[in-house]
């Protein structure tokens, strides 16, 4: 503003040509817009364009597809497998996000109470889990759940939980998906816990103390004091977890030896299978577009809540 006022005071004749003040914000934001457009909007545009074409191997090699309009979308929407896959993805995501948030909140609250030494050990363990590449951890999980040589079957048998010799965790898809939820939640807890713990440190001690003096129990203090203060952070981690868990791919793909049966298809696996397995790239792109659309709904909700928060503040 100061520059603008100063500029107004200068005699018009001595003014050097410059961007009109009105346009300055746009000029400043344009580099980011161009970069985001280049790395996000362009590929997304290509994806939508691909989803409107018949694009098989021949078209891939010749680099030109055949325009079919909305036919790919009609095909997938009429496919009962697609409905199952979307439903499975939604349930899977909801379960993972709910478990991640509940467990992470409990661990974060626990971290406030424990001694320094314990806290350092727990935090280091969390950072280790977060820092290890997903491929490596999933490989280890795969060995642990192995049908013939897995340590989990051995331990459960030794503990007399039951006869787990040659127990196949992936025989029954409900059980197999349970294992996958475990692996995904295990990998997601560190980031959410550390974020929530950092946020908890920002909750003013005097407010908690005041609530204590007023006779609020532990649950009431969390419910009516801590949780509202943490709401923006909860919003962020919930949204991020939803986006990550909805797009889950590596865990399922690696744990099931790159050949998951259709009972284990989530929307990302299904899209990959149609694209690269059956070489129907147009159809695969259409599935990916639907996936993006579903995630957009989540993002819109997040943006709306963020704006609300900003207005309150």
């Amino acid at each position: 503003m100061a520059t603008a006022i100063a500029a107004d005071l200068e005699p018009a004749s001595t003014r050097t040509p410059r961007i009109p003040t009105r346009l300055l914000p746009y000029a400043l934001i344009s580099p980011s817009v161009i970069v985001i457009g280049g790395i996000l909007a362009f590929p997304l545009g290509m994806l939508v364009w691909l989803s409107l074409q018949h694009y098989g191997l021949r078209e891939l090699i010749a680099h030109s597809g055949e325009w079919v309009g909305a036919q790919n979308f009609q095909t997938i929407l009429a496919d009962p497998l697609f409905h199952q896959v979307v439903l499975r993805s939604l349930i899977f995501t909801f379960t993972c996000v709910a478990l991640t948030l509940v467990l992470s909140t409990l661990i974060a609250l626990l971290l406030l109470k424990v001694r320094q030494g314990v806290r350092i050990i727990v935090m280091s363990a969390l950072v280790f889990v977060w820092a290890t590449p997903v491929i490596v951890t999933v490989d280890i999980w795969q060995w642990m759940f192995d049908y013939e040589f897995g340590v989990i079957n051995w331990v459960l048998t030794q503990l007399h939980v039951g006869n787990f010799i040659h127990h196949n965790w992936f025989d029954n898809p409900a059980q197999g998906l349970g294992v996958l939820v475990l692996v995904v939640v295990w990998g997601a807890i560190p980031f959410v816990t550390i974020t929530l713990y950092a946020a908890l440190l920002q909750v003013p001690g005097e407010v908690i103390d005041a609530a204590h003096v007023d006779g609020a129990g532990a649950w009431q203090r969390f419910r009516f004091v801590t949780a509202p203060i943490l709401k923006p952070v909860f919003l962020i981690v919930t949204t991020l977890s939803t986006i990550w868990d909805f797009g889950v791919f590596i865990q399922i793909y690696v744990l099931l030896n790159q050949r998951p049966s259709s009972d284990y298809f989530t929307i990302a696996i299904y899209s990959y299978r149609e694209s690269f397995g059956v070489t129907q790239y147009g159809l695969g792109a259409a599935i990916a577009v639907v996936m993006v659309a579903i995630l957009l709904v989540v993002s819109v909700f997040y943006v709306r809540e963020t704006i609300k928060q900003a207005e309150i503040a």
Binding site: L60, H166, D171, Q258, S261, D263, G277, V278
Partner: protein, 425 residues
């Protein structure tokens, strides 16, 4: 079209013709000794002994001293995806080893060079194994050179059979009773399998389907129709399911990749395997060399054998390759009589020509003769998609884990196969 635009396209077309002419003629006119660059070869993991590859590369170097040969070993697991993306790029590998069930897909998509006119330049092209030649042929044109074949039989532990007092079975019913006796003899071993059969092992399931007269799909009037749900296919699968339930403790959702390791550990009496797997097993445990035997998969008709799947590989030259003459020269050397004999004697596979079938002796002889009663998957450009969509493994897992009955599982798989083979997703 406006005149100006037309003018531009004429220039473009002329330029393209000139470029094509240069690109097409120069490699043929150059002397092999003058040719330079890198020839990239994709070989599949475990297909050729290193000594054969080294020998071919040395011969090639003598003829093309200035061409560098770069042999890259690929894994079977994700090869379909890798090939798709490689062929879509502008510099695909010059020579690729292709599983014989994959050739039709890439030939139809225009990824492979049509070598019909060069057939006679390859050794033994008149006596190539018919089913491999068929896998290379699409609408009367030749797109690849047969490399080797493999057919499956049952590898068994002679010492286990002797101890249980049983002989190699000569019918499917006998296979079950022999297996049950072996299971009884090893009843104290919770890991023992008389016949180790991983759930996704569809190559080994086909003989049972074919033996009862069933098939994956049948063609009529140019259209493919899935037929795994036919009563004869279902009969074969019922027989297989009985055997697996009674005799196998293998992972019902696993594949055959680990079966040789498992066999070498000594808790298995029989596996359905390729001839070269004998070498893999004895490589892990030398003491097994004298204890291994082999017999063909018996038919349900006593005394006969079941038809087996003829697997194998072919060599194709990429249509986009910039070194087509060198690529074909390399294939010529690899598939000549000398190297094919090596593949048979050192590699333990069935060579590409009937003129060398006499090389199958001892245990190998069992696998060679199994190849004589062999069948193939539907030779359609869309077959590879059926494989990549895991239709058969999924069906078998559903049956063996009892998630679905045989009628439901086969009906679903058959419908899917009909859709994919007729070009749908």
């Amino acid at each position: 079209m406006k005149p100006r635009k037309a003018w531009f396209s004429v220039i473009g077309l002329a330029a393209a013709v000139v470029v094509a002419a240069c690109g097409g003629s120069s490699p043929q006119s150059t002397n092999p000794a003058d040719e330079t660059g890198t020839l990239t070869i994709w070989l599949m993991n475990g297909s050729a002994p290193q000594s054969v590859v080294d020998g071919v590369n040395a011969d090639f170097k003598a003829k093309y001293p200035n061409v560098t040969v770069n042999v890259e070993i690929q894994q079977w697991g994700e090869i379909g995806t890798k090939l798709d993306t490689a062929f879509a790029g502008s510099t695909p590998p010059d020579v690729v080893e292709l599983g014989n069930t994959l050739v039709a897909k890439y030939a139809a998509a225009g990824a492979l060079e049509d070598i019909s006119g060069k057939k006679s330049t390859f050794d033994n092209s008149g006596t190539w194994l018919q089913s491999l030649t068929d896998s290379c042929t699409l609408t009367g044109k030749l797109y690849c050179v047969p490399y080797y074949a493999g057919s499956r039989a049952i590898i068994y532990r002679k010492d286990f059979f002797d101890a249980a007092g049983v002989q190699p079975p000569t019918s499917m019913d006998q296979l079950l009773t022999v297996g049950q006796k072996l299971m009884q003899a090893h009843s104290s071993d919770p890991n023992f399998s008389a016949l180790y059969f991983p759930g996704k092992y569809w190559y080994a399931a086909l003989p049972f389907i074919w033996d009862f007269g069933g098939d994956i799909a049948t063609q009529s009037g140019g259209k493919w129709q899935g037929s795994l749900n036919s009563s004869s296919s279902q009969q074969g699968l019922t027989q297989l399911n009985t055997l697996v339930t009674a005799l196998s403790r293998a992972d019902k959702t696993g594949d055959e990749a680990k079966q040789d390791d498992a066999f070498a550990q000594g808790h298995i009496a029989m596996i359905i395997a390729n001839g070269w797997e004998v070498g893999v097993i004895t490589g892990k445990d030398k003491t097994l060399t004298d204890k291994l035997g082999a017999f063909p998969i018996p038919s349900h008709n006593p005394g006969q054998t079941a038809p087996v799947f003829l697997g194998g590989s072919d060599f194709g030259a990429a249509a986009k390759s910039k070194h087509l003459s060198a690529a074909n020269a390399w294939i010529q050397m690899f598939t000549d009589s000398k190297n094919m004999s090596q593949m048979a004697t050192v590699g333990g596979v069935i060579p590409n020509t009937t003129s060398l079938l006499g090389l199958g002796t001892g245990l190998n002889g069992v696998f060679y003769s199994a190849a004589k009663n062999s069948k193939f998957v539907p030779n359609s450009p869309n077959w590879a998609s059926v494989e990549n969509a895991n239709v058969l493994p999924d069906m078998l897992v559903k049956i063996f884990t009892k998630q679905q009955g045989i009628p439901d599982a086969t009906a679903a798989a058959s419908g899917r196969i009909t859709t994919i083979l007729s070009g749908g997703g």
